[in-house]
Amino acid sequence: MQLVLEKRAERSNTIALISPLIAIGLTIVTMTILFAILGKNPILALHAYFIAPLSDSYSLQEIAVKATPLVMIAVGLSLCYLANVWNIGAEGQFLIGAVAGSWLPVVTHGTDAGYWVLPAMLVCGTVAGALYALIPAICKVKFGASEILTSLMLVYVADLFLDYMVRGPWRDPNGFNFPTTAEFDPVATVPLLVSGGRLHLGAIIALLVVAAVAVMLGRTIKGFEIRVVGAAPRAARFGGFNSNQLILLTFAISGGLAGLAGIIEVAGPVGHLQPGFSPGYGFTAIIVAFLGRLNPVGILIAGLFLALTFIGGEQAQIAMKIPLDVTKVFQGILLFYVLACDSLILYRFRLIFPSPKVSSGAV
C-alpha cells in the first residue's frame, strides 16, 4: 500500500477553513488515548481540559490573559512565516522586552514618578524586542547566517541575561534573597479592565494589533509584498520588492510585538520581573501562528484555544494529578496535525494498492 499525493490545480479554500478543526479533532482523539494510557478517565480529563475552564468567569478572564501574549507574539511571527523567514526566537525577544521594560519601574520604584512610566515601559519593551530580533535578521541579510539557529541561540542568551539581572543588579533588597525585582508601583502596572478581576488593558492592545495586521496583510501593498516574498521570492524580486528589507521589517515587527507582550506580561499579570515567568509563550506562539493559519483573525481564535489548554492543564493537574507536561505534549501533537492537515490544502491524498512490483518509494 502506498500513500500518494496529487497536486491540486488550485488551493482548496474549504479545506483551508476546516483543516484546523480536523487537526483539533484528531488531537483530541490522540489525547483520549494518551489519558487512557496514563490511567486517567479520558472523559473526565477532557472535561477538565476543555470544558471546566469555560464554566466560571475567573477562568474565562484567565484564558484571555494567557491568550494576550500568545496572540501578540503569534501575529508578529505570522508575518515572518508568511515572508518565509523563520524567527523562532520569539521567546528571547519576549524576555528581552520584559527585561528592558522593567528598567524604568526598577529605577523609579518608590519615587513619585507619574503616569508616564507605563507608556514609557511599553515603548522600551517594544523597541528592545525589535532590536533583539534584528540581530538574527541582520546576521542573515548581511552574512547569510541561518536565522533559525541564531534566533534560537539568542533565546538562551536572553534567558541567562534575565537571570543575571534579577539575581544581580535588580534584586529586590527586601525580597528575602529571592531572585526577583521589587513589586512594580501602581503607575508601572498595566491597569485592569474589571476591578478585582484578571483581564487587563493588554487584551485590548492585542485586539488592536490583530486588527492592524489584518488590514495590513489583506489590503495594503506592504502586506502583498510580505506574502509574495514568501510565496515566490524570485517573482517578488521581479516585482521590485526587496526581500532583505522585508526580512528586517518582519523581524523588527515580530520582535517588537514579542517585546511588547513581554513587558505587558510582567507589568500586568505578574507584577514584577522574575526568572521563569514565561511558560514558553514564545514557543507556544509558533503553534498558535500555524493553528491560526498565519491569519490574524485565525490567530486570535487559535490563541484563545491554546490559552484554554494552559488553564485546562493546570486544572487537570490540580483535580486529577495529570502532569503539566501533558499540555506540552498536547500542543506538540496539535502542531503536527495542523501541519499535516495543511498539506490537504495543496494536495489530495490517495492510497494506492499496487500490483506486486512497485519500486518507486513513498512512505
Binding site: 496529487e6 490545480a9 488550485e10 488551493r11 489590503r219 495594503t220 501593498i221 506592504k222 502583498f224 506574502r227 509574495v228 510565496a231 515566490a232 524570485r234 517573482a235 517578488a236 524580486r237 521581479f238 516585482g239 521590485g240 500490483s355 512490483k357 512497485v358 519500486s359 518507486s360
Partner: protein, 523 residues
C-alpha cells in the same frame, strides 16, 4: 494490431518495442489515450506533437518512470512490465532527457556512475567512460563538476551515460533545443552511426526540418492521441505542422509601413560580474534599439541571457547610470520599479516563479508588475477593482482561457499563462519591452498570438528586445539579430542577412573570437 508502417524497411519480423493501446490517466485527464507505436531496430523514429500532446508521458512510460493505466508494452514481441527506469535500462532502453537528469555538484564520472546501477568498480567505469566518449567523438573530462560545463557538454554526459549501457533503444527528448546548428549537425552524425550499429532511436522534436532530414518514421500525437504515423520524408514541414496542430497555423504579419524613430533603449558598454558563482560575466555589451524595431538576441542557453535580462530589467543594477538608457533617461542605477515607471516592461523566461507567483491569483500577479505605475495602489492600499480589471482586459485582448475569473497562476496552461503575462505588460503600453523566450513551451496557437502581439507593439512605436533560442522565431519577427556567447554580444545584423550558418558560427563563438582580438565592440 500492427500498424502498417510506411517505410517498408521491415517486412516481417517483430518490432523491438511495441506499445499497444497504451493509456495514462491522471484523475479524469487522459494524458495518453490508446497509443500504438512500433519501434524497429535500425530506425530513427520521430515523435512529434505540441506541448501537452502527451509526448513526455509516453516516453516516461516507456522508460518505466510512470506506470500505464491501461494497455501494454511489448519488447521483442513479449509483454513487458517495467517497475522503474533501472529495469528499463537493464532491458537496453536508454533515455536522454530534455531537462538533463544531471547533478550539478557531482563530477562527470559520478554522474555517469549514477546512470549505471553500480555493477562495475568506479575505476573500471571511469576507464570505460573515456573509451566510449572517444569512440563516439564526445570528449569529456570525468573529473570536472557538472556546473562548470556548457550546455553542450552536459548533453554529452547524458548521451555517453546512455551509450555506456550499450542500449538497443535510445530515447532523445528535444536534444537539439539547446545546441547550435553546428553542434546539432555533429549530434546527427552520432545518431546516424548509432542507427547503423542497429540500434533504434525515438527522437522527440518540434523542429520539423530536422525530423524530415533525420528520421525514417514519424508518429504524431495531438491531445494525448496518436494522429498518424507517416514517413516524414514524404511530408512537408507544413503538412507535419498541420497534423500536430490540427489546423492551419495563422501566420503572423508585421504591420506595413513600420517606422523606426528615436532610440528608446540604449546599452552602453555594460559590464557585470555574476552574483552567483555559476553565472556568466557580461562583458562590453552595447546595443541601440529604436522605437518600432524588434531586435533579436540568439544564443545557446547559459551564455549570459539571464544575466542580461537581470541587468536590463534592474533586478540587478549597475553603478553607472549611463550604461542603460530607457527612453532618454539614464537608468542603469534604477530599480526595476523605477524602470517600469520610465515605461519599460519585462517578460522573463520562467513563467512560474519568476514571471508570476504560481500560487497567487492572476489579479495579484497583475499587481506584481503593475503596482508601480497603473493606479493599482493608492496611499499604500491596493485597489482590487483595478487589479481585476487588468485581468479582464488581458483575458479579452489576448484570449486567455481559464476556468474562472481570477484563478491561481499555476492552474493555467503554459500557453494561456504566457498570454496573460505578455498581455499584462503590453496593456501598460510600454515604450520598451524586454522579453525572454516569449513562446518557449507554448502551443502553436498561443505562440502565434504572442508573436503577433509583439509585432503590433513594435508597430505602435515601442522598442522590443526578444531573447530566444528558437532561430525560426527570431527570423519570423525581428528586424535585426545579435548573438550572445560567453557574456559577449555580437554586432547585430539585419535579419534578412542572418543565415543559419552565420548565426550558428556566432553561437559557437568562433567568429566572435576573431573580432574579440582588437576589442572592437561598438554601437
Amino acid at each position: 494490431m500492427l500498424d502498417p508502417t510506411p517505410t517498408g524497411l521491415h517486412s516481417g519480423g517483430t518490432p523491438l518495442l511495441q506499445t499497444v493501446g497504451l493509456t495514462k490517466r491522471y484523475g479524469n485527464f487522459l494524458a495518453n489515450e490508446a497509443i500504438d507505436i512500433d519501434i524497429w531496430p535500425q530506425q530513427i523514429h520521430a515523435l512529434l506533437g505540441e506541448n501537452g500532446a502527451g509526448k513526455s508521458t509516453l516516453v516516461k512510460t516507456i522508460y518505466g518512470l510512470i506506470q500505464p493505466s491501461e494497455g501494454e508494452m511489448r519488447w521483442q514481441g513479449e509483454k513487458m512490465v517495467l517497475s522503474g527506469p533501472s529495469e528499463a535500462r537493464a532491458r537496453g532502453i536508454g533515455m536522454v532527457f530534455q531537462h538533463f537528469s544531471l547533478f550539478d555538484n557531482l563530477t562527470v564520472a559520478e554522474n555517469v556512475a549514477l546512470g549505471l546501477d553500480g555493477k562495475e568498480s568506479f575505476k573500471d567505469m571511469s576507464a570505460r567512460l573515456e573509451e566510449v566518449s572517444n569512440v563516439y567523438g564526445l570528449p569529456l573530462d570525468p573529473k570536472r563538476e557538472v556546473w562548470q560545463l556548457s550546455v553542450g557538454e552536459r548533453q554529452r554526459i547524458e548521451i555517453v551515460r546512455v551509450l555506456m549501457q550499450n542500449p538497443k533503444f535510445l530515447i532523445l527528448d528535444e536534444p537539439t533545443a539547446v545546441l547550435t546548428p553546428q553542434e546539432a549537425d555533429q549530434l546527427f552524425i552520432v545518431l546516424d552511426r548509432l542507427k547503423a550499429e542497429g540500434r533504434a532511436i525515438l527522437y522527440i522534436s518540434h523542429k520539423l526540418e530536422e525530423v524530415k532530414r533525420l528520421c525514417d518514421t514519424a508518429t504524431i500525437l495531438r491531445g494525448g492521441k496518436k494522429v498518424s504515423t507517416c514517413n516524414p520524408q514524404q511530408e512537408t514541414a507544413a503538412s507535419l505542422a498541420r497534423m500536430m496542430v490540427g489546423a492551419d497555423i495563422k501566420e503572423v504579419k508585421a504591420a506595413a509601413g513600420r517606422k523606426t524613430t528615436v532610440p528608446r533603449l540604449v546599452v552602453n558598454d555594460l559590464n557585470m560580474e555574476p552574483d552567483d558563482p555559476h553565472g556568466v560575466r557580461l562583458a562590453n555589451i552595447s546595443l541601440e534599439l529604436k522605437g518600432g524595431e524588434i531586435l533579436g538576441i540568439a544564443g545557446v542557453a547559459g551564455n549570459g541571457q539571464d544575466e542580461l535580462f537581470a541587468a536590463l530589467s534592474g533586478e540587478r543594477q549597475c553603478p553607472d547610470p549611463g550604461t542603460i538608457v530607457i527612453d532618454g533617461h539614464a537608468a542603469g542605477h534604477l530599480s526595476i520599479t523605477l524602470r517600469r515607471k520610465l515605461g519599460a516592461a519585462f517578460v522573463p523566461e520562467e513563467r512560474l516563479g519568476h514571471g508570476t507567483a504560481p500560487r497567487m491569483k492572476l489579479s495579484e500577479n497583475a499587481l506584481l508588475t503593475g503596482h508601480a505605475a497603473s493606479g493599482m495602489v493608492q496611499h499604500g492600499f491596493v485597489n482590487t477593482a483595478a487589479t481585476l480589471s487588468t485581468v479582464d482586459r488581458a483575458t479579452e485582448t489576448f484570449d486567455v482561457r481559464k476556468a474562472k475569473r481570477d484563478p491561481e497562476a499555476a492552474s493555467l496552461s503554459g500557453g494561456n499563462l504566457q498570454k496573460f503575462i505578455v498581455g499584462r505588460e503590453i496593456l501598460r503600453n510600454p515604450a520598451v519591452l524586454v522579453v525572454s523566450q516569449p513562446t518557449w513551451g507554448v502551443d502553436a496557437g498561443a505562440a502565434a498570438v504572442i508573436r503577433q502581439a509583439l509585432l503590433d507593439l513594435a508597430a505602435s512605436g515601442a522598442a522590443v528586445l526578444v531573447t530566444s533560442q528558437d532561430l525560426d522565431e527570431l527570423a519570423e519577427i525581428t528586424d535585426r539579430i545579435a548573438v550572445m556567447f560567453h557574456g559577449h554580444l555580437s554586432q547585430p545584423m539585419a535579419t534578412a542577412e542572418a543565415t543559419r550558418e552565420k548565426l550558428g558560427l556566432l553561437m559557437g563563438g568562433s567568429s566572435l573570437e576573431q573580432k574579440e582580438a582588437p576589442h572592437a565592440v561598438s554601437a
